[in-house]
Symmetry: D2
Subunit: 310 residues, 4 copies
């Protein structure tokens, strides 16, 4: 049994303010890095229970303990639904784990990764080798430091898959204009035929309304839209994702087809994603399905964006 | 945007000490009841985000916001797997929501509920009508105040379904001897042919090893054992359950069969459980499956019980 | 040694947000009352370590453990400095403990107490008899429910002593206009010759600059101004007070004179205030004295008030 | 006004578990060092409000903001009471600030400092130059790495002043045998005629009973014993000290005598200690005086030591 004395020895803690009325306190073993970049506050900490973690502006982004759940769920459903993804664009994804998962697909010829914060990438390279696992040195990766929305506005490039690995849409934050009808319309334009995009879509517990708003925004732009989620322990919550597709539907695949595609197309081991889990991801409970169908939730636009509750 | 001043006005908070290094703080709107019974500390609070809740010894047991997820997941998979459950035994379940779910099954003729703490039942009757919804007044319910293990040791009754809605196995706590080989052996003896038991089996994140130990204990006693889990927001975690069965296998049912049985056998609406969700419940990710198969985790016995980490 | 399990049983806690970067968490034994009046959120809680307490808008106002330190320090230095205080005005002081201390002085013929929040007084009468000790039933007390500043603006009454037992000057809060040159000028006008006023003047640790601003504001209005402070455990801090006087100087009294006046003029026992403690109260350390003399801190006015840091 | 978003950006916090029911959370700007020595967990952090700090086993020892209050109060009352302190022994005091204050006295010829933890001294030298201010390089300082009690048992040296700058007497901790009759008897034996010892004596709020026990232990060994305290913001509390003297009485000095001795005998500036503050230090409120005289509190012995409450 843990005593007060043992706990108090800890000293240093991390507090994640999930909402104004819900905070999570975690013991920190070590703080490996703590600084402020041009864009945000960055910390690399080692949690007692979750191992090393990247924290941006006080929000846990990835932990060694369970980042595989988040990153495999973000990357593979869209990639596997595509018959032959060769060119992939990632917006965000600074710690390199999204690129790592994309690069496991043998079909991939080029990954363009656009992240605004050079320093986060440098810090991740130095402190989080468990996460990028060398992805930054892969010759297929082209890294561009710049603003994601501006890149989309100016680029003439086309991609098979576009992955939006962004921070949550916070009022006044850097990302909320990457969750709007205008933005998704440009994204669609940057996709090849058969192309799919996927975006992280925040907590389906703490911010369920925002999740629904992102889904409804994507669905207003793409012919096929699919919302899914999975439990990520370090986020204290189930976490949502939304796919927008020009035609292919990830839900139409059977577990067997998925397992077969994984076997034929992916190098190395997956730790979470597989055929049965794909089906679990896309099975949402009734109270979430009801909200997704709620027509009073309007698509977010540049003028009327959606924000996390606060 | 919430200001510090708004937050500080709150004043009263609940802290759940999940582990020595992980605490969750929640805003409390009202404390409706706070007292100590012969067995435990009982509070009825109203959380800002989760509504009214029953808290025993500082652990959130049920909240109005999401108790339906926990209670439907606990009760229906075993009940639905049985062709015609008529006599049901519940150990624990003081706030009456487990009985409420059982009583939705038209086949049920008698529910025996054994709970050690008279006061918790009285307090729940008074303060938590949203949870029991009149279950305590149902003529099919027979309520016995007493020790669950002792009841099992002394009873000659037989049941189709036995539901163990207990507190976690804490060292020195009141429940750890209801998670052992000896106890499950007696439970099996109290089941009719075709009978199934189900037990809550703690967090599959905070106490995954204990979950595996409970599974392996049940599997050492029953011919069929099935572990499953689902995300319960108010527990900050996915929550585990284990079924022990004398023969019937809940995993063999298709979603369609389940939906058909629900339609034919259940009165009123379910809010969470349905055929597709049944399949989700029993699909565990690979790292959890691996632990369930880990032979170094020995079945818990009265002499060597399993405990929550602390 | 306290274990995690013992602590977690607690469940309900109080968090005082002292500043954006400093929060104090205390165990709550019971919540006796929790509600919202026309003006503020009111809670009566029983702390594990400090006993019953009045909490307004999430700020601890008084605890059974140490309110005697605060209230004796607020009331007696000004009262004792006056040769014969007969008419006393209290603004605020809802829980009745300030009136209780004033009424210990045999010379007092009438105490007028003006508090804006009828409900706080009712709740204190019901739940905090240890604090008011019958003061509300004393025939010398005249209780007026109303706005303190408005009372001062409209009253023609004169007093020997005016005691300002107010909440802190928070931006947007109800009290900040009771800490300005304009207000103190009216207060001076309501004082008889030889009259003194005293105001609570916030924490000399968490809000030292505000303490200095209050002192400098009083000193710009009154010929004699004296700042003092004492440690109040439940405020986590030393707590400041400022006296404004038309001529009499509390610092000129020796400990012996004070003890003699206490003996001759006060009914009942004091628990904290005495001659030696009087001298301690008015002995401020050098870094506080330096700030009090800092001419860049301007007196607060209705147009440029002083606020707590936030 | 601080918003939730601003606060949450902070990320890293320090929690001091004062008692099982009282915790203080502080924002951390940077963690400069975090490690474990042979004896304890050591952290150098920079608090948002208190600046750089030394934290041992989760307890704040010294902060740049207010260590001068603690260290001047520990060192100077005993030193000033002595007519000509030449040889001074310090047990503990790893960050070097106690030695720094002792070395301000021109009469001092040798300071022997015995600290058990070499690493704490190295870390303090590197990270806390604001605290030691070069004391470790002063030729009058003789630093001995070793156990304080053992040094006292084996040493034949004599001193004019002995300063016990120890961690609190925690059950199972390294210091509790340095607060006993047996230990103080050896200390008295190591003092020259006219010699004085002083010990830190824990919080007079959180651990008032322990403070009284330390006083009564010293008083059972020395002909003159004097208890005093002062408010130290970073300890959230008034902090106690006890002097044991072979004859000289620090309370007999007038403020004027003290100011004169400071002027004649001390190099450099003091920031807190002066004649008037000396008098404040030794003026304890009535409820503390009553406990000091409480004969049911027995002197601590090696067999029946006194511990902090837990």
């Amino acid at each position: 049994m843990m005593s007060l004395e043992d706990m108090s020895r800890e000293g240093t803690w991390f507090i994640e303010f999930n909402t104004p009325f819900s905070y999570h306190i975690r013991g920190i073993k070590r703080v490996l890095y703590n600084g402020v970049t041009k864009y945000q506050r960055v910390a690399i900490v080692e949690f007692e229970d979750l191992g090393k973690a990247l924290v941006l502006d006080g929000k846990t982004q990835s932990t060694v303990y369970d980042e595989f759940i988040y990153h495999e769920s973000l990357v593979h459903p869209a990639m596997i639904a595509h018959p032959n993804p060769r060119r992939v664009l990632i917006l965000g994804g600074g710690e390199g784990a999204t690129a790592r998962e994309v690069l496991k697909h043998r079909s991939v010829e080029e990954v363009v990764m656009v992240d605004i914060d050079d320093d986060v990438i440098k810090i991740s390279r130095d402190y989080l080798p468990e996460m990028h696992q060398g992805a930054f040195d892969n010759p297929k990766l082209r890294l561009i430091i710049g603003d994601g929305r501006k890149f989309i506005e100016e680029s003439k490039d086309k991609f098979d898959i576009i992955i939006l690995d962004l921070t949550d849409p916070l009022e006044g934050g850097p990302s909320y204009l990457l969750y709007t009808v205008e933005f998704y319309t440009m994204i669609k334009d940057r996709l090849n035929d058969n192309g799919l995009m996927v975006t992280q879509a925040t907590s389906t517990f703490y911010a369920l309304y925002t999740f629904a708003a992102i889904y409804r925004t994507v669905a207003s732009v793409f012919p096929v839209a699919r919302a899914y989620h999975t439990y990520v322990p370090s986020f204290d919550s189930t976490w949502g994702f939304v796919i927008g597709s020009k035609g292919l539907d990830p839900v139409s695949l059977t577990p067997e087809e998925i397992d077969s595609r994984i076997k034929n197309r992916i190098n190395g081991e997956l730790r979470y994603y597989e055929g049965d889990i794909h089906r679990v991801l896309f099975t949402l409970p009734r109270h979430i399905r009801a909200l997704l169908e709620n027509k009073s939730i309007k698509p977010a636009t540049d003028k009327n964006p959606t924000f996390l509750p606060a």
